[in-house]
Symmetry: D3
């Protein structure tokens, strides 16, 4: 499947924390760590575990830009 989302950062999963319904998955994408908040169900379905390869995927309209003061 190819998707319209413009941003796909490849990396390695460094943490998976499941909550009651929502999980946090942290992916090291070349030095920076990106945090994703997704459903527990998606974690199970994709078999996300620490050490696995994964992409952080973000739609362009969900990216903000900031600058230092």
């Amino acid at each position: 499947m190819r998707i319209s989302a413009r941003n796909r950062l490849k990396g390695t999963i460094v943490e998976v924390t499941k909550g009651a319904t929502t999980a946090h998955v942290r992916i090291d994408v070349g030095g920076s760590v990106v945090t994703a908040s997704i459903t527990n169900e998606a974690v199970d379905e994709l078999g996300l575990v620490v050490g696995g390869e994964a992409y952080a995927v973000v739609k362009a309209s969900d990216v903000m830009v900031a600058v230092d003061d």
Copy 2:
């Protein structure tokens, strides 16, 4: 100002394209290029220009995770 958004990737602006109301800003964050779709007004207010330093900022709940088949 400090913000709750978990993801801040620092980089250099490589492209700024203004549309009628919506602009696309591309930031090279260490090899990968992240595309942000923001208002023209924000581009002006922050003074975003090619070559400038900027952060791509994303709320954790807007990050998805993908894996190769």
Copy 3:
């Protein structure tokens, strides 16, 4: 690629309208028509044209629920 986004509705593209930077793509997903606002660039990259098959993909945290009064 498999993605964490919970919602994938398969259908047929019934309209593609490009703006200056942002395009609207309408997909008939079995009677209902879903509108997606994505970048022009994604339209080109995925080769989206009227009559083509496509999925509307939505992250669960972007879905609201409404009821009639």
Copy 4:
């Protein structure tokens, strides 16, 4: 109330799972099941229960498009 969100898919609630703060509500919208991640508080306020009629509502800028490889 009428809202700008372009996408409203009518269906029947097939599952309501409350977490500590976040609930998952699944709505069958004519064959496909859509998952919404909303607050527990909204579930209570709207009286969402299995078997009830409800709409899955999504802003156009939160819809992505995907195609098969």
Copy 5:
């Protein structure tokens, strides 16, 4: 229609700017002005004009929190 989105701020429309596909609508919600980026089509369908009453509606998962340094 009642909706799960937690945040509804009532105000008066002070600006409507249509682009090629995306419009910006500004609503004065008691002193502060909130900017919404929505489709041109929604502006037409809801009949949004300067001086009209409207609500800015935001899903809780789309709200970030910031504090001064």
Copy 6:
């Protein structure tokens, strides 16, 4: 840090509820109360407590507009 997000409503925190991974923070922004769903981790990092000053921050593309029937 200055950010592209168009909407910043200043107020006072009136409630902080932590869940397993996701917290709800309520901010009184001049009469209206805005609910933010953010990570527990952000609550800790920013030191968000009831009575503290904070901003509700929202990207323009995450704001919808509604009108009364």
